[in-house]
Amino acid sequence: MPHTLQLTTPSENEVQIQRTFNAPRRLVYDCWTKPELVRRWLTGPEGWTFEVCDIDLRVGGTYRYVWRAPDATRMGMGGTYREIVPAERIVANELYDEDWTGGETLATLLFAEHAGQTTVTTRIRYSSPAARDAALRTGMDQGMAAGFDRLEAVLASA
């Protein structure tokens, strides 16, 4: 059975995503930090692929991702690693080329293993509450025909 994604807004300028995976944390960590593995899953919307996936995993090292959409649109982002504790914790700042996040964000990734399963917590801190809300709004074009049926999802997750 797939694990449930927990999406919360722990403070007015943060978003937190938490998910558990059926794998030891070293393996999950590899999937997050080795380009050949990252390329295979962190691809976002249907049909998108990686064009650039460069990772220099050391404090002060940079990473660069560029995705290509089916209509050939490109989306790029990158940042610098601030803190690395292998298989445990990564802190990096990140900035999208289009800067739809209203300035640089700070992402903290935590890997915790329990009974052979790994819980990954991603906390993204935006430069301001308005920047966070703008980031949440991206992807809204996928369907803002939001209705009452979403009440339950929010009540369960907020």
Partner: protein
């Protein structure tokens, strides 16, 4: 209704479990403060405080009848906040389902061909 300030208020209002429970109750229909307070074992002033937060966030409205002032869910503000979170969630769920499949595959790989960090 669409300003960032409004959405901040909405997200802040939704961050509290009691307020989410009050919204869930109001999703079944309008109710007075008295009716809302009863199942929650809370004082009326405590419930009123939560209702004020929900009202400021645009999530509920209060009737004008002086005595009863029933509370009513205002679905638009909630739907907007929900829409944002839902789309964000869907994007990540797609990523994570691919990661589930990749992790399965990596754990089935024969010894010697794994790519775990030394």
């Amino acid at each position: 209704m669409n300003t960032p300030e409004q959405l901040d208020a909405t997200f802040a209002a939704l961050a509290d479990p009691t307020r989410r429970a009050l919204l869930a109750r109001l999703a079944q229909g309008p109710a007075t403060v008295l009716e809302l307070a009863r199942p929650f074992a809370m004082s009326q002033p405590a419930v009123s405080k939560h209702l004020k937060v929900l009202e400021r966030a645009g999530l509920i409205s209060r009737g004008r009848e002086a005595q009863r002032r029933p509370c009513r869910l205002e679905p638009q503000a909630l739907a907007q906040a929900a829409g944002w979170l839902e789309d964000f969630r869907r994007l990540w769920e797609g990523n994570f389902q691919r990661l589930d499949a990749l992790l399965d595959e990596l754990q089935q790989a024969p010894p010697g061909s794994d790519s775990t960090t030394a």
